[in-house]
Amino acid sequence: MNETIGVTEKGLRSRRSRELGVFMVLLILWFVAAAFLLLWGDQVYSFSTVLRALFGEEVKGASYAVNTIRVPRVLVGTLAGFSFGAAGNVFQKMLRNSLASPDVMGITSGASAAAVFAMMVLGLSGMVVSMLALLGGILAASVILLISRTRTFSVNKMILTGIGVQAMLQAVINFIILKTSDYNISDALRWLSGSLNGVRMYDLSLFGVIVVVCVLIILFLGREIQILGLGEELPVTLGMNTKRSRTLLLYCAVILCAGTTAVTGPLSSVAFMSGPIASRLIKTGGAGTIHAGMVGAVIVLVSEAIGQFAFSARYPVGVVTGIIGAPYLIYLLTKMNSKG
């Protein structure tokens, strides 16, 4: 008996230390990417100049570039990556399927469609657009959940339903883009693929609160995610109110996704890439919310750096993540095939 406990304890210790190690590595990667995005740009500033500007000293030129443009971009990028990563991970863990992520299932396109509609048709801007996008995402998720509620719950059917709903929403988006005037279209397209260009400090207010609250709830329910991942029957046997926990968690993840989409656009593939990558890094037992979120943040910041500086033209970050994500999705699919 004692031996068993000893082995378990040893396993737990090695797992904890691995988790810590991965976390530190991710933190360093994030720091490097963030520092790069702060220093680099049309004007390259020295480390000390950026630091001085950050601490409120008036440095000619640098203060504006760093505080008004670069810092919000890094902060919003980090939060967006984190929230997509965390939300995707909740979906994937709970539904036990790495393809069941909010961007594959059309929840982000619900938010996108609502936002494009609000901007292009109703001519709104600012906070109202974000609120409508949030509502759009929640609505899309509710419709998908409602439709796929059959007697026997099937994740595959839910994913396929999501793809169907997405096709419809995409038609709405395409229609609005088709009808909008020519000089708006560049904006709309850029925004649809997801971009950090033009984010400002005030974008952070509501968005930041949403992310913090939802992530806290998800972290608080971390154990329940793991239990829900055990299957359909076992959690009930363990005395859990599966329906309530599942609904609460799903809606937290949906709100995270939709709220983020409202600020940055969909940032394709971040949500579904982060969880599996984090799990791969940790190896045993899969990754928790924090690790998945950190991976998401690193992906977004690195992609932003690639999109900004790697090519002669500047690409919004969503295009870069989309191009990284598609081969990964295909890889996941072929792997899923081999399992049968």
């Binding site: 059959t150 793809i163 709903v165 850029r190 969503g318 072929t334 095939n337």
Partner: protein
């Protein structure tokens, strides 16, 4: 019993088509009164105001009929060769593939005539269909590809993945070039409003080849439906039949996409509808899918013109709205695993 149902179904289809045709001539941002239409048929002089409108609407209607036939047939073909209830050009990502090739062609190879568009769109749809189906049926390790592996969920997800990849690539090509963006909008949403006689003439050979091939394949496809082993025993060349069927399907929907842009879900819905009334025999399924594909496309177009006044709602958007719920219904019934 079945024969009676089939006859009834055909009569209703033809009846609806006969209603849809004059509607398609008459309805639009400017309606043409029925009396003038009848006059025009009789060969009387009609109001000179209506003449150019009518001319455009005739082209549009003809294109709608052709495109609907092609999409319906392509859907029936694809569903039968893949044995997959959700096989459809839009699900297989063929449309985004065609769009990507055309956009890339415009940006990098300076293509600008409709013939060139057609070739690029055809190549794009063929390659994408192959890629998506390949991914869905590829099993690493085994070293073999078998279409049996491609169940609905894999097929749909592979299509979605390839579509995502293509749309990201499209954005990459397009964002630095505003001139391509204009053309691209057309390639995002299917519409039969901008067709011309010239473009119809251009794709007609491809479509006729596709139809001929699919009619010729009907007997072998019917045997194939019994299962590969039985089909092989009865002397059907399984691989060849499937490859030719796929080629016909790609010809049909690739050429349609080249003139009308991506019109989704017609190929998905119609064969299911026909099967519901007339059964699985491809001898009735393929011609009736063609007929009802045309009916559906024409009606959707009229509907789009009615709803979208004073402008119009592109037919691709109408079919997506009609088709997505049907897609979800099909999924609910299909066996996709847990």
């Amino acid at each position: 019993m079945k024969a009676k149902k089939t006859v009834l179904f055909i009569s209703v289809s033809v009846l609806v088509l006969l209603v849809a045709l004059p509607l398609s001539f008459a309805v639009g941002s400017r309606n043409i009164p029925l009396s003038d239409l009848i006059g025009a048929v009789r060969g009387e002089e009609i109001n000179s105001l209506y003449f150019p409108i009518l001319q455009k609407r005739i082209v549009r209607t003809v294109l709608g009929l052709i495109a609907g036939c092609a999409l319906g047939t392509a859907g029936a073909l694809m569903q039968s060769i893949t044995r997959n209830p959700i096989a459809d050009p839009s699900i297989l990502g063929v449309n985004t593939g065609a769009s990507f090739f055309v956009v890339a062609g415009i940006a990098f190879f300076n293509i600008h005539t409709s013939v060139q568009y057609i070739w690029f769109a055809l190549a794009g749809s063929a390659l994408t269909a192959l890629l998506v189906f390949g991914i869905a049926s590829f099993v690493p390790g085994k070293g073999s590809m078998s279409y049996n592996n491609a169940n609905p969920i894999r097929l749909a997800l592979s299509g979605a993945a390839v579509s995502t990849a293509c749309s990201s690539l499209i954005s990459t090509v397009m964002l630095p070039r505003t001139n391509v963006m204009q053309v691209f909008r057309f390639w995002q949403t299917g519409s039969i409003g901008s067709g011309t006689w010239e473009s119809i003439r251009m794709v007609l050979p491809f479509l006729i080849a596709g139809f001929a091939l699919s009619v010729w394949l009907i007997p072998s496809l019917n045997v194939l439906a019994l299962g590969d082993d039985i089909a092989m025993g009865l002397g059907v060349k399984v691989v060849r039949t499937r490859a030719l069927g796929a080629a016909a399907g790609v010809l049909l929907c690739g050429a349609t996409t080249a003139v009308a842009g991506p019109i989704g879900f017609v190929g998905l819905m119609i064969p299911h509808l026909v099967r519901m009334f007339c059964g699985n025999d491809l001898k009735t399924l393929i011609p009736l899918s063609a007929l009802d594909g045309a009916v559906l496309l024409l009606l959707s177009d009229v509907l789009g013109r009615l709803i979208g006044r004073p402008g119009e709602l592109e037919v691709g958007i109408v079919t997506a709205f009609l088709g997505a719920p049907v897609f979800i219904m099909i999924i609910r019934k299909a066996r996709v695993g847990r």
